[in-house]
Subunit: 284 residues, 4 copies
C-alpha cells in the first residue's frame, strides 16, 4: 500500500503550484522568508516591507508555535493571523503559516495562502486529512526522522482527500551529529524529484540551527535542484522570542539573495527580479 | 526552560498510578496486552477473556489507528471503543486505547481507563494539552526519534495543564539498524528512573517488529527496572489487519508470562498471580 | 556474498569457546572485568586479586588504547602486556586485551588469552585477517555504527582465515540520543542468537558511559540471553586515566555480581560460584 | 584535549595542498575521478586518458579495497599500484589511492601522490600515525558515523606526527534513511571551513550510492563551498567489480564536468580548463 497520487509514475509532469502572483515548482525559484514567529505587529510589518523589496515571493510567520517546552512562547494565535493578513494587504505578498489543531484549520485557511504542516505533525494523520479536505495549498515539512517514503505517504494522505496542492519541505533530519541542529538531507531533493511530481523546497535555517550556515546551505539546495527556499529572517535576531540564533538579519539576507541569483542561473532557473538592483542601490 | 513537574528533583517519590484494581509504578509489575487494533467484536472479546486468565492487568486495543498509509485499515472508531467497553464489562480489566484528534478526547475518555498518545503524536502539543485538561491517566509513548529530554518535556505539557497521571512508554527509537523495526532503547529505563518520578513501561512488540524477539526484550525490560510491559497479542496473528508479524499468539504469550515471573522476582518485583497456575493447569 | 561460516545455517549448535578454566557460550555466564587501561603495575595487580574474589572468569585491561585525541593517554604498550601476564600468573585468570596494529598481533598473542578487536577497528579488514591466521580466541566488538550484518561479516573475515574462536561483543551503537554515550542495542542479543552460532557478550560500561547505569543494563543483557558481560571496574574510578566516569568501583561491582545471580538463574543460566559468599562474608 | 594543529584558531589562512601541477584548497576547484578499483590494466589506462581530456586534476583507483565481505574482490595490491603509476606516466595526472595496513604505507607512498585513508579506517590510529610520519598528502575520509569533531581529531593524529598535508573528504554519514547508501552531510562543508584551515572535498558517489544522484550532489557540494570532488567514473559501470551502481559512465561524467563550471563560477571559483571545449567538440 504505497503512495500513488504523489508518485511520478501516476503523473509525469512536475506539479506547479500557483500562489498569488508567484508559483512553486516551475522555472522560477520561490523564496519564502520571514521571522520564525509573529511576535509584534510593528516589527512584523516592518520586516514584511523590507522583505518585499529584496524580491521574496512569500512571507512566513508562525501564529501557532510548536515549542518543545510548554513554558516557551506559544505564538499569538488569531491575533498573529490578523497581523499576517495585514502584512499581506500592505505588501501584496501571499503568507504561509502553520496549523497544529484540526479545530483551527478553517480559521487558519481564512487568513493563510499556504497552510504549513510542521515536522512534529507530519504523521498527525487527522490533521493531514483535515487540510486535505480544504482548498489551500499545503507546505508539508518532513518529519524529524521521517523516511522519504513516509513523507510522500503523508502527502498521499492529503491528496487522498482531494487536495493536490502540496509543497514538500526538507528541513533536516535527526542524526548523531551535534554540530548542527539537524542534518540537511540534500539528497532528498533529487530523490523526491525522481519519485514524485510534487515540488520540493528547503529550509536551511531549521536544518543548520546556526545563521552562519544558512547561506552555503541555501546555495547548495538551489544547485541540487530545489524549487525554492524558506528562510528565517528577523529584523533583530538577538531579540527574537523563538529561534533567533538561526535567523538572518536583513543585511545578510539581502546579501544572500544577491548570491543566489548566479547559482540559480547556473542550474537553469529564473530568479526573483528586484533583489540585485536593491542591493546595488543600497536601498536596504 | 526545562521540565519541572516531571522532574525527580520536584518530587522525590515514585509516582504510582492506580487504574481499576491495579497500579503502575509500584512494586507490582503491570502487564498490558491485546491486539494492535480492535478489528472484530467476537475476536476481541475472546482474546480479552483469555488474556484475563493469563494474569494481565489491563487490555489494549486501538480504535483509532495511526497508519503510515492512508489506504491501510484505519480502525473502527467509536464502534471499536464500544467493543473495548464490552470487553471491560466482561473481564473487569481496565482498557487502554489511543486518541489522535483533539476533537475525540472527550469521546475516548468516556470509554477508556487510560488514554494513549502514540509515538507520532508525542509532540502534538495541542493534543497533549487536551488530555492534560482531562482526568484520565495518559500512556505517553516516546516519539520515533525523540530524545529522553523531549519526551519528559511532552509529559510536562500534560502536567502543566493539571493531569499528573502519566505512564511513559519506551517503544524503540529510529536508528540505522534495519534488522529490527526500531531499536529498543533499554537505557531509557534507568535514565527515566533517574530523571523523573513518573513510571515507565516498555513496548517490546513495536520495538522489535518481530514476535520472536518479544520475549527476550520483555525480560530485559523487566530486569532493567521497567514498571510494566505493553505487549501485542492476537488470537491469530497471521490474520491481523495491523502489525500481525510482531504479535504473539496466546500460547507464546502465556509462556512468556510464566517466564517473566522469575525475572521480576529476581529484581524484587511482585508479579501477577494467576498466570503460573493457569499454565500448570493447561487451561490455555 | 553474505556470511557463511558465522551463520546458524552453517552450524546449528552454539559455539562454546574455552578460555583457561572457563568458557563463553555455554550454560555458565562469563564475566570479564577490569580497568579500561593498564595504568600502573601495583594498581592493576591489586584490582585483579580483588576481582578474582568476586568470581569473575577473566580480566580485561588495555595496553594499546585507541583514544579519540592524540594527546590522551595511549597505553603502556608491551609494559602493559607484561603487567597483564603477571596478573594472570597471580590470579590464574585468563586475560583479554586489545590489538590495534597488524604488526603487534604476534606480540599481543604472546601475552593474551583472548585478543580484542575494538569498535573502531571492526572493519579494519587487514587486522581481522591477521588475527584470523592466529589461534587465539578473538573478542570482536561491534563497530560504532555497524549493522548486525556487517558485524557478522567482520567475524566471517576472521573465520575465513581459519580461526573460529570468536566472541561477539555488543557495546552500544551511535544514535541521536545524547543522554547516554551510546545506545545499547539490546535487540542485538536475540538477533545474533538467531542468525549465528557464535557467543555474544555485552559491554554495558561503554554503552552507557555512566557507571550508574551499568547495573540495570548488565541485568537486562543477562535477561535477554547474553552469554556474558565485560565490565569496567577500577579501584579508584576518579583517578582513572581513561573512562573513569563509566567504571564501577569494587564495592558497586561486587554488589552487581550478587544481583546478577538471581537474574541469571531466572533465565536458566549457571552463575559464578564465589561472589555470593564473599559478599556475605564481607571480604570485599 | 581537543584538536589544535587542525584548528582555524591555530592557523587563520586556508591550507592549500599542491599535488603535481594542481592544488586543493585554493581558488581552483579540484576534481579527482576514476573507477572505484583498479581492475584491469587496459581498462584503467583507457579511462585515465579519457578522464585527462575532461579536465580532471587527479586520478583515483583502489589497489587495496576495504570490502564488507571477505568473499568480494579485494583489489590487485601492488599490481594495481603499478597500473596507477603507468596511468600517471601516460597522462601526467597525479594519483590517489588507499592504504589499509601500516605495513603497506611505504609501498603505497612509493607509487601514490596522495594517500587515502578510507572511512572504515578513520579511527585506525596506528595507520594515521604511520601516514603522519611520511611526506605524502593524505586524503582523510570521514568515518561512517564520525562526528566532525572526531574527524578533525583524526586529522590531528596525522598532523601531530609532522604531516600537515591533509585533504578532508565528506562521503556521507550513516542515518536511518535507506533511500540513499549514506546521507551526504552537506553542512559539514561550512562547518569544517569554520572550524579548520584544512581543505575539504566531497565524494558524492559513495554518499548517494546511485549514479543518478551524483550530478545534483556534486553541484550542491560546489555551491556549498567544497574545494573539490572525488567522483567514481567507470568506462563500463555495469561490469565494474566494485560499486558499479554508483559510477558515472564517461558521457555522464563529461556532461557533469560541463555543468559544474557555471556553478563553480557562481560561487567565485575557477574551474578546470578543458572540459567545456571537449564537450563542444564531441571528443568524448
Amino acid at each position: 500500500m504505497g503512495y500513488k497520487l504523489a508518485s511520478r509514475k501516476e503523473k509525469k509532469d512536475d506539479t506547479v503550484i500557483t500562489v498569488g502572483n508567484s508559483s512553486v515548482g516551475g522555472k522560477q525559484l520561490a523564496i519564502i522568508a520571514g521571522p520564525c514567529a509573529v511576535e509584534d505587529r510593528d516589527l512584523f510589518i516592518e520586516a514584511a516591507v523590507k522583505l518585499k523589496k529584496t524580491g521574496v515571493q512569500m512571507l512566513r510567520g508562525g501564529a501557532f508555535k510548536p515549542r518543545t517546552s510548554p513554558y516557551a512562547f506559544q505564538g499569538l494565535a488569531e491575533e498573529g493571523l490578523k497581523i499576517l493578513a495585514e502584512a499581506k494587504r500592505i505588501t501584496g505578498l501571499p503568507v504561509v503559516t502553520e496549523v497544529m489543531d484540526t479545530r483551527d484549520v478553517e480559521l487558519v485557511a481564512g487568513y493563510a495562502d499556504v497552510i504549513q504542516i510542521g515536522s512534529r505533525n507530519m504523521q498527525n494523520f487527522v490533521l493531514l486529512k483535515e487540510v486535505g479536505r480544504g482548498d489551500r495549498p499545503v507546505l508539508l515539512k518532513r518529519g524529524l526522522a521521517a523516511t522519504i517514503e513516509e513523507w510522500l505517504m503523508a502527502a498521499e494522505y492529503i491528496m487522498a482527500e482531494g487536495n493536490n496542492q502540496i509543497i514538500l519541505c526538507e528541513r533536516g533530519i535527526r542524526t548523531f551529529e551535534t554540530h548542527t541542529r539537524n542534518t540537511l538531507d540534500i539528497s532528498a531533493i533529487p530523490a523526491v524529484k525522481h519519485l514524485s511530481h510534487l515540488p520540493i523546497i528547503v529550509d536551511p535555517s531549521h536544518a543548520a540551527g546556526k545563521w552562519g550556515m544558512v547561506a552555503p546551505l541555501a546555495k547548495a539546495a538551489v544547485a541540487a535542484g530545489a524549487d525554492g527556499l524558506i528562510i528565517e529572517v528577523h529584523p533583530c535576531p538577538g531579540e527574537a522570542l523563538s529561534d533567533g540564533g538561526q535567523s538572518l538579519n536583513m543585511v545578510n539576507f539581502s546579501l544572500l539573495m544577491s548570491q543566489l541569483r548566479p547559482v540559480a542561473e547556473a542550474v537553469g532557473r529564473n530568479c526573483f527580479d528586484e533583489a540585485k538592483n536593491l542591493v546595488r542601490q543600497n536601498i536596504i
